[in-house]
Symmetry: C2
Subunit: 504 residues, 2 copies
């Protein structure tokens, strides 16, 4: 509030009215708002007389017409009423009851009535259970946390060109309300999935989403009634678990062993099984063929749906590509979810789902009613990015880069082979290692690593309920190959409790 702002203390009819002309907005609007606030706050009560326009204008140092315009507006909206020959009064429509006493007059001096207070509307309990997320403001020297692709690999100049080409008038005029998204992107994703992942899909089968989370959300909306039982991997991916819980379902953790999800441990009443078979999150295990077959059979026998999240297996380091569950499915029991957040850039926020055909219309409808079809500029640019071969080239190039980082992480872990067993994996942007000594506190180990400037994740942090097997998850998406050896030396030193700490 400016120090030189005109200010008025009016004491007509005992009313203490302050009007200040500081702040944004024209003077008419300013006077209008000040007076209206006084009415709403109860400083002016129904039947109070307000200052004559001439008096108020003089005191504020503005033209009388300015005050008159503000009064006219307040009168038109029913806040004030002119009584012929006797002046202008606060209208007797009982604003006061609605905004003051009826809900307990505000007692906070700032006059800010929007803050939470007794009687305020509250969220449903399922939204109150939110744990605060750990702040990541403090960047460590070496960040080996999970889910971070390397932004420097993103072919920015190509992307700029493609986005620019989308920003033409003819594209922007296309209706955003078809609910269909970009058919071209759907076709390109289907082609990419068929070639790169063996997924059986046409463009009509692909529903483009705002990231994989929305894909999971849409599937949950479409098949899960409240209290439905949903099986998830334990350890598993908490962001999706949390999302599923908000659908009022009963989440059941199912153990994961060296062949992936233990199918026989799935509760029989399960309606949906959420799995990451290509590169289990967080352990990295690839689900064995036997388990895949068993899971498909289980889904048929129990009339359940499998939700396969293939979040980062574009980056493959083994000889044998492991193809998705969806490519084995001949009976429409698998919904396949993928994302460009890992293979390209999280900021794109583009994912997709290929549901069984029996669900496709419903999923498309669920997308339409919630977010229509998303950002068509990004979708159009991504379609061209795929069609022109940039995506395939990017994945090849990025795989080489990530392979080098991964090899160096594995080399570092080999130096700790007396402490840690590496979990075999063939894809993705992180590896896991389990402590040979199962009594190790992996959170404490991660904290010791952090004290030496290395951020890794404790496997225990990804367990729901099972007695966790202690270990570390080590991401290599966000660290340059040159930095890996130093990071791994520091990690080893932390694990061995060698002297010397700090991030120097």
């Amino acid at each position: 509030m400016g120090a030189r702002a005109p200010r008025l203390i009016a004491e007509e009819n005992g009313v203490d009215l302050q009007v200040t002309l500081a702040g944004p907005g024209d003077r008419v609007a300013r006077i209008y708002r000040e007076l209206r606030a006084a009415v709403l706050d109860g400083r002016l009560e129904p039947g109070d007389r307000v200052p004559a326009t001439r008096d108020l204008a003089r005191q504020l140092g503005v033209a009388r017409g300015t005050v008159t315009a503000a009064y006219d507006r307040l009168s038109a909206e029913g806040f004030l009423e002119a009584r012929t020959g006797s002046g202008t009064y606060v209208a007797t429509v009982s604003l006061y009851d609605a905004t003051g006493d009826a809900m307990g007059r505000s007692t906070d001096a700032s006059g800010d009535g929007r803050r939470a207070r007794p009687g305020a509307v509250h969220p449903l309990p399922l939204w109150e259970a939110t744990a605060p997320r750990p702040s990541r403001r403090d960047r460590p020297l070496h960040d080996l946390s999970l889910g971070q692709p390397e932004p420097a690999l993103f072919p920015l100049e190509v992307w700029r060109r493609l986005v620019g080409a989308q920003l033409r008038r003819s594209r922007l005029e296309e209706s955003a309300y078809s609910g269909r998204g970009s058919p071209r992107l759907q076709r390109e994703i289907a082609r990419f999935l068929g070639l790169a992942r063996g997924v059986v899909a046409s463009g009509d089968d692909v529903i483009v989403t705002a990231g994989a989370q929305q894909a999971v959300d849409l599937m949950a909306r479409v098949v899960l009634a409240p209290r439905a039982v949903v099986a998830v991997e334990d350890p598993g991916y908490f962001a999706v678990h949390r999302l599923l819980e908000t659908h009022r379902v009963a989440l059941r953790g199912v153990p994961v062993d060296d062949e992936g999800l233990v199918v026989e441990a799935i509760p029989p009443e399960t309606r949906l099984v959420y799995v990451t078979p290509s590169h289990q999150f967080p352990t990295g295990v690839a689900m064995s063929l036997g388990r895949r077959v068993a899971l498909l059979r289980w889904a048929v026998e129990h009339d359940a749906l499998i939700l396969e999240d293939d979040y980062d297996s574009e980056f493959r380091f083994g000889e044998q590509p492991v193809e998705p569950l969806q490519s084995l499915d001949r009976v429409g029991r698998v919904a396949y979810v993928g994302t460009f957040s890992k293979s390209l850039l999280p900021a794109l926020r583009v994912g997709y789902v290929v549901p069984p055909r029996s669900l496709a219309a419903a999923v498309r409808e669920a997308k339409r009613v919630t977010t229509w079809e998303g950002d068509l500029t990004t979708q159009g640019a991504l379609a061209e990015f795929l069609a022109e071969g940039h995506h395939a080239a990017h994945v090849r190039r990025a795989t080489r880069v990530y392979r080098e980082r991964r090899d160096r992480v594995l080399a570092g872990l080999a130096g700790c082979a007396d402490l840690l067993d590496v979990v075999p994996s063939v894809a993705g942007l992180h590896v896991c290692a389990r402590f040979r000594d199962e009594s190790v506190d992996d959170r404490e180990a991660a904290a010791r690593a952090a004290a030496r400037g290395v951020r890794v994740e404790a496997l225990s942090d990804h367990y729901r309920r099972l007695p966790p097997r202690p270990g570390l998850a080590i991401g290599f998406g966000g660290i340059g190959a040159d930095a890996v050896p130093d990071a791994m030396r520091r990690l080893e030193a932390a694990l061995r409790g060698a002297p010397g700490s700090g991030t120097d």
Copy 2:
């Protein structure tokens, strides 16, 4: 499939095996997939012997190493097993049971097992009730349907520059996982809302969404338990009604009169009231101050939340701006929803919600778990667009353009004053007129207009259950001012049943 593709009919052990090398993918992958498909389809059964690599290579005209690589991969994945000295066999892991008999062997010759069939997983009933949406492929001569802003007004060159400036590496490297979206955009929206709409909000109060539909969706998630009663305007906005229904709530239509929603008709058990007070959809009525106060009081007395959708009132044509319900709210009972889809362009898909502070953390969490924070490039560009004043300038310019169109529509309606009463309104991109003769079939009238090349909407199409008062809703966002007179002449001719039809 290429005509010259090598093709093999193998009849070993009575197995009819066809391998073709046409189609995309390298030859190893092709052989791998053909054989795998044969196993999955049951053409090869567990225990069957597959051709020797030497024989298959000869027959396909490929190097033996190619076939060996495919067999190795199939073996690694468990489809085949080599028996020393006796050849390679289909593995006895019972793929067949899982993908064939257990779910009824596919009988469709295409081998496409993903289509819906008995036993397929089905969506929940609430997703099956979807009415097919009318196709809009046939563009009429004059399109006066609702919800279409003028794309030619969009300042494309400015937007291109701002988007281009966002596409720099430092921006793309920002984590997309904070769940906070662009704080700058939140602040700019709060500033814009305060200046232009009198909405009381700081940046922390603003949650940016993928359009207004997502804003409504998030609010519904956060406050509506299954079977909660939700009051909506009747007539009203069906896209939002449909969205709310998918949250398993009980929707109740409440009549709208010349002062807006009839507050006393709201069912007492209502938990949420969805309203469009600035420019009621579709009638265009502005809610009177008395009703606004009554609605706020009602919400307090009944412990309910008001969801205010201010979808298109940036464009104001009256002397007196009508400020939102939210600006009257001193007790945290109003969630304010807005969008840039109408004021700028639907394709942007950016909206926002300003919930009461008691709900803000939950709404933010709901956004985070479903779609993280959306497209940061668009959000960043929009923040600059607002900060540099382009949005305010655009709204001023567009208001002039729309005012001219609106005046011409109203002039045309004045010529039909014996048939139609214009519903007074002060904002937005459409006007309504009711038939003086309440026995008129407005759908039939709209069909007659369509036959003359003019698309308008029948008010009856926007009613849920109440006996509709017939009328027409006429949008002017998508038609140039020069075309309006011809459109209105055609409309009048249609209404009067004058001779001459067609779109000439």
